[in-house]
């Protein structure tokens, strides 16, 4: 998707600073954020490609930590591209989703149980009585 391997390497370094490995979860680059995850993301969000390329151009020959700190300080729009794209691609990774026990915004039919009646929850509100001001008489 129009990104060179050099650009992908720069992205991987930046992405790993945002999402390092930890708590049993892979780092961004290990989860393919700069490779297949990025391609999958750009397929549905092509609007992010040019801002990303501009950002990676600026990041060349810069220390990734220094570059990110500068974006956070002075260029919230550019940092916003990274902050959308890196977790966006990360959470597309099937292994990450499995570890999260997250199967997307899947259907969870409503349990017809009237949970508002449990433990006298609602009765407590009713017992406190009306809280509205009635329409004043003319």
């Amino acid at each position: 998707m129009n990104l060179t391997s050099a650009e992908r390497q720069v992205l991987a370094a930046l992405a790993d600073l945002l999402i390092p490995a930890g708590n049993g979860f892979p780092s961004a680059s290990e989860a393919g954020v700069a490779n297949e995850g990025l391609d999958q993301l750009l397929a549905v969000r092509p609007d992010l490609l040019n801002p990303l390329k501009g950002l990676l151009l600026r990041a060349q020959d810069r220390g990734p930590a220094e570059f990110i700190a500068e974006l956070q300080r002075n260029d919230s729009a550019a940092f916003g591209v990274l902050a959308e794209l890196v977790p966006g691609a990360y959470f597309l990774n099937p292994d990450v989703r499995t570890k999260l026990k997250y199967d997307g915004q899947s259907a969870r039919p409503i349990d017809p149980r009237e949970d508002y009646l449990e433990d006298g929850l609602l009765q407590s509100v009713i017992d406190r009585g009306p809280i509205y001001r009635p329409t004043p008489a003319k």
Partner: protein
């Protein structure tokens, strides 16, 4: 032989137009509706795809400046604290609304009498109550009768959604605090109901409901209206209303999608184009007889714009709140601080709705989390503290009317047909700022009492102008209002406004319930009095 002119022309196929058209066609009237948008394209709804969170904002953004669809007109919001959110399509704002179905409370109709500010409405809660009950049946509302924040009466037709773990936790806390809560009313079907299927709690209500469970009028009204004989013309952008020598509206000029101009005649014209679209059309329709725009002898067309400043407070809990899913929508609502308490230093109040927080990508974004750090060495720990373990109060603040808060025609900006675009001039009032700060603080206390380990107050964001109200105010005095209590323009007897533009005050509620009930009340009055209605020769 040509078709006879319709009895009624409605501009706008949102909830106002849908409710009114239904009543008119039931009464045997001929109805034509002009809608500049098309039918919503639910093939772009991605709730059942892994990229949902990435694509939702692109296809279902409520900001026309961001969406830039062919049916949209640009809005200059550079001089407004809040950006307008609306949807130009069959269904209007109900396509993207969160479906919080809130009636106004009795005091909302008597703000001047009770609180000494703004204006009373020329009707009462009790007068509107039967219309609430009727439209709640038509929209497939879920909820529970007996809410202690409202007078007794019939409840909605469907049972409420679940409180869910978040709602039960906060409900218990409010009971300890002695604060109000109630199972929330939603325009979300909890059981099969007419054309609606039951909700499956994907928490994606604002970005294309893939289930067909949300009570949006493209599902609940328009197919039935069309079947009953209403003629709905999509891709029809009105550029002005025309007036005859007697000062009566003869109909509307509109562009079709190919740029051709048409004229639709009608005996009566009704505007239901939103608090921005409606005054825009009136201001565009100036004539030598109406030099400041149609129906504008009061000078109030476009003024008194109210948009409901919006706040969010999020609680993070140690236990699983299942908050990736649920009703979005709301699980419970609280009206504990809705009524005025002069000791607080402001008047009026706000409604709170408790919602889930969504999927994983939503845990990393600036809204609602603000500058609270997530990135870097502690990313996973920070993320897991939020993901599925958080719940948020959305706070709708009442916005009082001020004549300087207004919509005007932009002198330079135009839509794709060359029609002057609207410009918003809006500043949040001191009363609104105090009100918002008070409610954010109380909502924090609510979540802390519920056991939240951390509470985050979200940054205020601009794109929260979902509720566009007040710009053609109703009242009894023609010098101080645009329309009367039945939506009829004081200056033009066969011109009506039925939408949220006519609200004298904004309440602190999500407005669709009252917009729909008011539209039905106005339509009912027009039906009953149609033989007395002045119409063009």
């Amino acid at each position: 032989m040509s078709e006879p002119d319709p009895d009624v022309l409605i501009i706008g196929a949102g909830p106002t137009g849908a409710v009114a058209a239904k009543r008119f066609v039931e009464a045997g009237m001929r109805v034509v509706v002009l809608e500049q948008g098309d039918w919503p394209d639910y093939s772009k709804a991605r709730a059942n795809h892994s990229d949902f969170e990435l694509t939702a904002g692109r296809n279902w953004s409520g900001n026309p400046n961001r969406r830039q669809a062919p049916a949209d007109y640009p809005i200059d919001d550079s001089q407004s604290d809040i950006s307008a959110v609306l949807y130009n399509a069959v269904g209007g704002g109900t396509v993207i609304y969160a479906a919080h179905w809130q009636r106004n409370m009795p005091s909302d109709f008597r703000v001047r009498t009770l609180d000494g500010v703004a204006d009373d409405w020329p009707l009462t809660y009790e007068e509107l109550q039967p219309y609430y009950e009727k439209v709640e049946a038509d929209f497939g509302i879920s909820g529970l009768a007996g809410d202690t924040a409202f007078p007794p009466g019939k409840g909605p037709p469907l049972p409420p959604g679940p409180l869910a773990p978040m709602g039960r936790r906060v409900a218990r806390a409010h009971n300890r605090l002695g604060w109000h809560w109630w199972p929330a009313p939603n325009a979300i079907a909890t059981r099969p109901y007419g054309p609606l299927k039951p909700c499956t709690q994907r928490a994606t209500c604002m970005w294309g409901c893939v289930e067909g469970a949300k009570g949006s009028v493209d599902l609940t009204h328009w197919p039935q209206n069309i079947k009953a004989g209403v003629r709905l013309i999509t891709g029809a952008r009105v550029r002005r209303l025309n007036v005859d020598a007697a000062g009566l509206v003869t109909g509307a000029e509109y562009f079709d999608r190919q740029g051709a101009v048409h004229f639709q005649r009608a005996s009566v014209t009704i505007l239901g184009a939103s608090g921005i679209g409606t005054p825009r059309i009136l201001l565009l329709s100036d004539t030598p007889k109406f030099p400041n725009g149609l129906a504008n002898s009061s000078g109030l067309v476009g003024r008194r714009l109210m948009m409901h400043p919006f706040g969010t407070v999020v609680g993070l809990f140690d236990e699983d709140m299942q908050s990736t899913h649920g009703l979005w929508g709301q699980h419970i609502h609280s009206l504990q601080f809705y009524e005025t308490d002069p000791a607080r230093g402001f008047v009026r109040g706000a409604k709170w709705g408790l919602q889930p927080t969504g999927g994983p990508l939503s845990m990393t974004r600036g809204y609602p989390w603000g500058d609270n750090p997530i990135w870097g060495a502690n990313f996973h720990q920070n993320f897991h503290e939020r993901f599925a373990r958080s719940a948020m109060w959305g706070i709708i603040c009442e916005d009082l009317p001020e004549t300087e808060n207004r919509m005007v025609l932009d002198p330079a900006l135009k839509d794709s047909d060359g029609i002057p675009a609207p410009k918003l001039v809006y500043r949040m009032s001191e009363n609104s700022k105090r009100l918002l700060q008070f409610h954010l603080a109380r909502a924090r206390e609510s979540l802390e009492a519920a056991g939240a380990r951390q509470v985050v107050t979200a940054p205020l964001i601009r794109e929260t102008g979902w509720h566009l109200l007040g710009t053609t105010v109703m009242g009894d005095d023609p010098s101080a209002s645009v329309v009367n209590a039945w939506g009829q323009a004081h200056d033009v007897p066969n011109l009506y406004v039925f939408d949220g533009s006519i609200w004298p005050t904004s309440s602190g509620m999500n407005p669709t319930a009252t917009i729909a009930a008011l539209a039905l009340r106005c339509a009912e009055h027009l039906v009953e009095n149609r033989r007395l209605q002045k119409v063009p020769a």
